[in-house]
Amino acid sequence: MPKKRVAIVGTGQTYHKSHRPDVNGQELINEAVKRALQDADLTIKDIDAVVIGNMDHFEGINYVDCWSVDGSGGIMKPVIKLTTGGTTGSTLAIGGYQLVASGFFEKVLIIGWEKNSESDTTGAITTAFDPVWDRLVFAGAISGLAAEAQAYMAKYGATEKDAARVSVRDRKHACNNPHAQLRREITIEDVLASPMLADPIHLLDVCPRTDGACAVIMANEDCAGKITAVPDWIWATANRHKYTYLGDVNWGELDSLAGASREIYAKAGIREPKKEIDVIELYQPYSFAGIIWIEDLGIAERGKGAEYIWSGATDMGGELPINPSGGVIACNPIGATGLIRCAEAALQVMGKAEARQVPDVNFAISTGFGGCMWSDMLLHGKRKPDF
């Protein structure tokens, strides 16, 4: 049992767009912070500590925790930076949970942000990998993901069309989300006809490049219920950042997500995730992941991911909607992306997801993905955890 149970009591997102030259980084951060405070009906004085993160080389700013205080509201408060690559946003959510659960702080403000327009995204991601061994051929996130897709297709026979169905789903869902960047429906034909980036990944299979920030406020059990009528309780968190070199990865399945999800199911006593989970916000940066990773989550059997997608089960109105927000394929400010998944899952539990609301959500999952095929995961619940 944690020292203090923890809930999300407010969330805020910026107007996400491919390029936001109207604001500098601090101002972008502040836009999300103000909205989260407003959502929770709190002021910055109520905040006991700030947890912030991004990926340094997208903006080229060292010591972002220090630089950002004018936007984050962190002046004369404890401010700490966490960063783990693509998983940064979910890592921040887990960090916020830990800081509140420890009893150190009552209310913590968590901020993920990125201005991806300020550098060459693929170039910056390439510097994430080993300078001696990996940088020569590695070409950013898409090249690694293409390697995964190829391995999965060779093993299980999935097709580019199967993957396209996932893009179509997420882009359709995004139309319901005012914060999504790409809010236009596409067809399977559109995906298959879009330029091939790295075989078998087409342009419309992958996430865009986005400027945006997300802020989430977590509070302990002593005050969460006073701040909001329906807090989003954090039931469990887990992560696996298994690999140091890409060549060590077990390509074709995401064993980091399998490991993290099994730990969470065991902690929360979940036996049949497909039945017990009501909605998933999956950090799914490209379409093939929508097929492969639901297998690692134990939602679909190995090799049956595509079949489950085609059944419509993961669409809005299906038995287990995935990415009602439109997900990462519709919006991807990288350092914020994992935290947006967390915020969107919270909105679902709190019943505040408006046009993208899934009815009667008792349990939601949010995930993070990044680094060397790493995964983070949080389990959100309407009921206060009984452990």
């Binding site: 300078p131 390697a147 790295a198 060590d248």
Partner: protein
């Protein structure tokens, strides 16, 4: 408030140069590659897994590896893609020439994969499981470019 003109400050050319240490394990690998066109991995004394690139710690067992074993030079494609989109190469600051074959090679005798270029002369032959061999550079300097690329054989 809206600004009439949104200004941008460019920081082109303000990169930070680095001297990355290759380490004892990598240095041994590159010396062998440069001088003898041989490829080395390290073998875990506990699980027996052979790692390329060679490194000190078996992450799975958390034990130190000291035994070097020769691997390859031939191997198979573990997985691959063909890169077709342009991006800025952070190592040079220039646009990376595309398309190129990007492969994960499993050397004979190794348990992990080694990233490198795959020659794309005939794209139809690039498949998972296809056999490949390295094309060594004539002038070798002790880095990963001492292998030019891998080409399909048989």
């Amino acid at each position: 408030m809206t600004a009439k003109e949104n200004l941008v400050i460019e920081s082109k050319g303000s990169g930070q140069p680095f001297n990355y240490a290759v380490g004892m394990y990598g240095s041994k690998f590159f010396k062998e590659l440069r001088e003898n066109r041989k490829l080395l991995g390290t073998k875990c004394p506990k699980c027996g897994k052979v790692y390329v690139p060679p490194r000190r710690v078996c992450g799975e067992c958390f034990v130190e590896m000291t035994e070097f074993v020769e691997v390859g030079p031939k191997g198979i494609i573990g997985t691959f893609t063909i890169l077709r989109y342009a991006f800025i190469d952070p190592e040079t600051g220039e646009q990376k020439p595309v398309p190129y074959g990007y492969g994960f090679i499993r050397f004979d005798g190794a348990d992990t994969l080694f990233q490198h270029y795959i020659s794309i002369e005939d794209e139809s032959k690039i498949k998972i499981g296809a056999r490949v061999e390295p094309v060594f550079s004539e002038e070798r300097k002790g880095n990963v470019k001492d292998i030019l690329c891998f080409k399909i054989i048989e």
